[in-house]
Symmetry: none
């Protein structure tokens, strides 16, 4: 099956936003064994959009559009598809009621113009949008499929995962499966070197990607059946694990913060944080996990020496070693553990671009983990912007915490 | 002049890389007064590339391609343009010598296949590539211009700045300028309704976009000179400000957190936060601003009633109103202010998907701001995932703080 993506929005043609939707969808289609031959970007102009849709209709089996489903006059995707298919647009009364209810739940009245988002054509089936007011359309006509989704990436991706991907999976003949193996602590070139024999293999293919949470290795294979594909992936994953060992922390959609959460729950341990310079990024990451209140007690965010002192860091330590030091990080880990009555305290100190500078390099991070028995310190250097550094610092702390938890020396029986 | 961008490379269609070249070029063309109507992405397939080039040739004055200029067999941009124009490809001897010298300067011998990068057609003028071995082509034929540039963004952007932009500037007759006006607190459809007369205007044009930090309005205009374009934007901005008034918080690349930072610095005020359920997102956002340590004292992140109690929230308040309530948020704002000895304390309580539920709706946020004289409370409802809710909650808090700071009742003289 040949697919084509059409990204719609004048803001894309003005370069105001980058088209991450197209690259997201492009990365998903191989998983369905669907070949993507073209991506087109058009503005909010009905004539040019219809022209683009018509050409896609002539040469592709599946047309996926994103954008142009808002409630305003410049959102013309629905109108363009109706024109292409020569169908009439009508308001779906039940859908209009649902939209009204969506506004009602927020304590708002639906603006009259929003009723536009409840419009349909006869060939279109509605795809629900749990996150917004722009439902999608699934159109089947003349042996072709048109799928329209909203432009905001959060809404589009949820709609894709919940409804569009499963439905396309039923159409697909071959399966292409892939698995992402996630590492932390090695540079990309080193990972590449270590797995180089597999990088040139044809089946499974292997590629490496540098991501904020480390180097990812994506293994992909095509087969007639899921079972066969899975076995091939399992074998290659075992090869890679034998080489990269403890640098591997997870696979696929796993996140370090969720892995930590599961480990803490299974060991009945609780966690608290103290951050100096990373502004709460670590706490924010930990609390992105649903149910994190079961183990995360809370965090202290200090942003000056004065407040570090006020929360109990010894002024002699600050004077002798400076705020950005292993010694102060170690003291902070203990303060976090004690203040929040947690089993484990983690401290991160660094990202001085945001806080104090003290003439130290702005690329150095100090991490300390106090589990009540031991205090372990880690010093790490990372390149990148201060925001990237915040991210890396938090992930490095979680990566070390994971290792300590897996070594198994601490559990609730120690407390 | 109508332009069209063609991005070439199978890796784009596999979603392995995002097409940042197209968005870069798209953001540059308005500065030249050149209208961009289409962006197309094709793989390394000569038939489909020629097809895409031919259509562009038929409908556009300027065609800009990126990618497919490498030395390997799958790089077919030169061949496809030669086929389109029905011209013969020849090796340019002088250019081949230059490429050899390029390798020589790096102590390398040029691989024989690289001579392919020295090929030209009669209509093409060579565009030098100071950073790599893939020169560009500038083709003028039949009243049309084809510009081919390499895919690596560093090489492409340097070539654009040094050679292509100046050359296009000579062709150009107009400038297009745009301005983004940022609002918070109104749904998109409401904003649209309020500014509807301007939405249908042709000059300046106006469009609205829903973003995490509110609804943005983009005003754009075309003129012969920058001064004239700026005046038109100023007048339309004034019209919009007269309507949307206090809902407007910034323009262009301004962020709420940076605006807050500037206000606090100018008023010599400091800030502290306490968060229950948003896990430090507010503190994280505030500390994304370089220099935030000048005014941000720090933050408390609590994630359970027990820790809210431990940091001083009155247990009778918690029992009577629940953790997610205006009353508890108000108490937390004062605790933040006092604990961190700050001029202003902000509390956010909500996003219960992460913390306790207490059978309350998970889309409600309680915000309180204590400036030492007054305590102001705000209750807001938002749709979206818990992570989006964290983001909106933090932005809503900053938006209200901005309003309070601008009302001007507090400054350092009160302390």
């Amino acid at each position: 099956m040949k697919a084509e993506i059409i990204s719609i929005g004048t803001e894309l043609l003005l370069g105001e936003i980058t088209d991450n939707n197209a690259s997201f969808l492009a990365s998903q289609l191989p998983l369905l064994g669907i070949d993507l031959y073209f991506i087109s970007t058009v503005g909010d102009n009905q004539k040019r959009l219809v022209e683009t849709l018509r050409r896609a209709w002539e040469r592709s089996d599946i047309i996926i559009t994103t954008g142009g489903l808002g409630p305003t006059q410049d959102d013309i995707t629905r109108e363009a598809i109706a024109e292409l298919l020569n169908e009439e647009i009508k308001i779906d009364v039940a859908l209009a009621q649902e939209l009204k209810a969506f506004f009602g739940r927020r304590g708002l009245e639906m603006p009259p113009s929003n009723v536009k988002q409840a419009s349909v054509i006869t060939s279109a089936e509605i795809i629900p949008n749990p996150r917004g007011t722009a439902p999608g359309w699934w159109v089947e006509k003349g042996g072709r499929t048109i799928i329209t989704m909203p432009g905001p990436p959060g809404e589009m991706q949820l709609m894709w995962e919940k409804a569009v991907f499963p439905k396309l999976q039923q159409k697909s003949e071959a399966v292409i499966l892939s698995r992402t193996i996630k590492t932390f602590g090695l540079p990309e070139a080193k990972v590449d070197e270590l797995v180089s024999p597999f990088l040139s293999a044809n089946d499974p293919t292997l590629a490496t990607y540098a991501k904020p949470d480390g180097i990812h290795l994506r293994v992909a294979t095509k087969a007639r059946e899921v079972k066969e594909a899975k076995e091939k992936l399992d074998r290659r994953e075992a090869d890679i694990r034998a080489i990269l060992k403890e640098y591997i922390w997870g696979v696929d959609s796993e996140t370090l913060e969720a892995i930590i959460g599961n480990l803490l729950i299974s060991k009945k341990l609780s966690l608290a944080t103290m951050e100096f310079g990373t502004g709460g990024f670590l706490a924010n990451l930990i609390t992105n996990v649903p149910g994190s209140s079961a183990y995360f007690k809370g965090g202290l965010v200090v942003h000056s020496r004065e407040m570090a002192l006020a929360f109990g860091v010894d002024d002699r330590l600050l004077a002798q070693y400076g705020a950005m030091s292993p010694e102060v990080a170690e003291a902070m880990a203990t303060i976090a553990r004690q203040r929040f009555k947690a089993a484990i305290g983690i401290a991160v100190s660094g990202v001085t671009g945001f806080g104090e500078t003290e003439n130290k390099a702005v690329d150095t991070i100090f991490i300390s983990i106090d589990d009540g028995k031991n205090r372990q310190n880690f010093t790490r250097k990372y390149p990148g912007s201060p925001q990237q550094l915040k991210h890396r610092a938090a992930l490095a702390a979680l990566f070390e915490l994971r290792r300590i938890l897996l070594e198994g020396s601490i559990d609730a029986s120690n407390y």
